[in-house]
Symmetry: C2
Subunit: 216 residues, 2 copies
């Protein structure tokens, strides 16, 4: 099990893995710290679930033929641990991307990312497949739709479009597949044929779907 | 939302109720303390979810026509907060039963109970419907089946049969319906026609099932 952050949508499923099935839990130290701060995660008994504190960039064998490394990306503390005035866009390991290696093929999985940095671009330029944070199409989408009070950036998610959006960066990458993941249900790219979907299609990017398989 | 204890099977569902839907969370103080000790439950935002610290035996309006009160029963701390040498069978409010009133009808819901006390019997003698802890048929059932290392009593659940089992107590109650709930998947009463099921049937007790409706 590899965790890219400790927000609820990434860690709640751990609570269903408590039937004494042995596994290793690989994450950067700040994510382990967030789990350790909530005793409810002790249902993952220490004698069956090994919590592996990953070192940034170090490759770990995760399953036969697959290796994974974690690298920090700009993010923030989980919502439930934000406190009064959270720092947004820090890259201290609260949020990470996963670099997956299968033989000579490489994939980067970055479901949350608050800003596009030079370091991130370097990582993504070196892989064959990129799965990237597609939470919102525009930064103020949830506010305009009346379903939330926060921008995407405030939630730790860089939007697809607008100044500093991810589309321009992803379009310029040499990866053979570039796929948006972690899409919020307000994101109009989920609607086939929508103007926003066409923009993504024409940029040569794809939208993830349930059951998608990615040969490496 | 009314909680009878803070074990994971009783509280994990709270993490799915975080979409800013207002509700009140009614529990005895030790259960609230267990939730407060795990910051992950802060996803239930304080401005939409009111945590009501119930006083033992006090009736609260829960929904139109229904009132509920919590009363402590013998139990223990949640598994994830047990520590080295947990006290089993204490009635300090870690485990509770719910007394539900609808007009002049009363129902008691006791999904976990580590021992049968005089106080508990008094509560159950005064209601029309009893839903009671039917986790295991025999105390060492999980050990004998090779699926666990603990007795029912160690887990805070009095067995249906054996010395001090719940069947004899429930059989003697005047309630018009007496129903076993919270059944472990090793419990042979779940198998229609099994010798154990016949024992429960012949005692005039019922086994809960999904979709069961109980008119009061």
């Amino acid at each position: 099990m590899v965790l890219t952050n400790a927000d609820l949508d990434h860690v709640a499923g751990l609570l269903s893995l408590r039937e004494r099935q042995p596994f290793k839990l690989l994450a950067l130290p700040p994510v382990h710290a967030a789990l350790a701060a909530s005793p409810v995660f002790n249902v993952l008994a220490g004698d069956v679930v090994e919590r592996v504190h990953a070192r940034q960039g170090e490759m770990y064998d995760t399953s036969p033929g697959l290796k994974a490394a974690l690298f920090p990306v700009p993010g923030k503390a989980p919502l439930y641990a934000e406190g009064e005035d959270p720092a947004i866009g820090v890259d201290e390991g609260q949020t990470a991307g996963i670099l997956v290696e299968a033989g000579s093929s490489r994939l980067a999985y970055v479901p949350g990312c608050a800003a596009l940095t030079r370091e991130l671009r370097n990582q993504l330029e070196a892989v064959d497949v990129v799965l990237f944070d597609g939470t919102l199409f525009t930064d103020d989408e949830m506010i305009r739709e009346g379903v939330g009070t926060k921008t995407g950036r405030r939630m730790g998610h860089v939007p697809i479009t607008g100044e500093g959006g991810s589309l321009d960066m992803l379009r310029a990458l040499p990866a053979r597949r570039r796929i948006y993941v972690h899409l919020n249900n307000t994101n109009p790219v989920l609607i086939e044929g929508s103007p926003e979907r066409r923009i993504v299609d024409e940029a040569g990017l794809a939208i993830a779907r349930d059951g998608m398989e990615i040969p490496l």
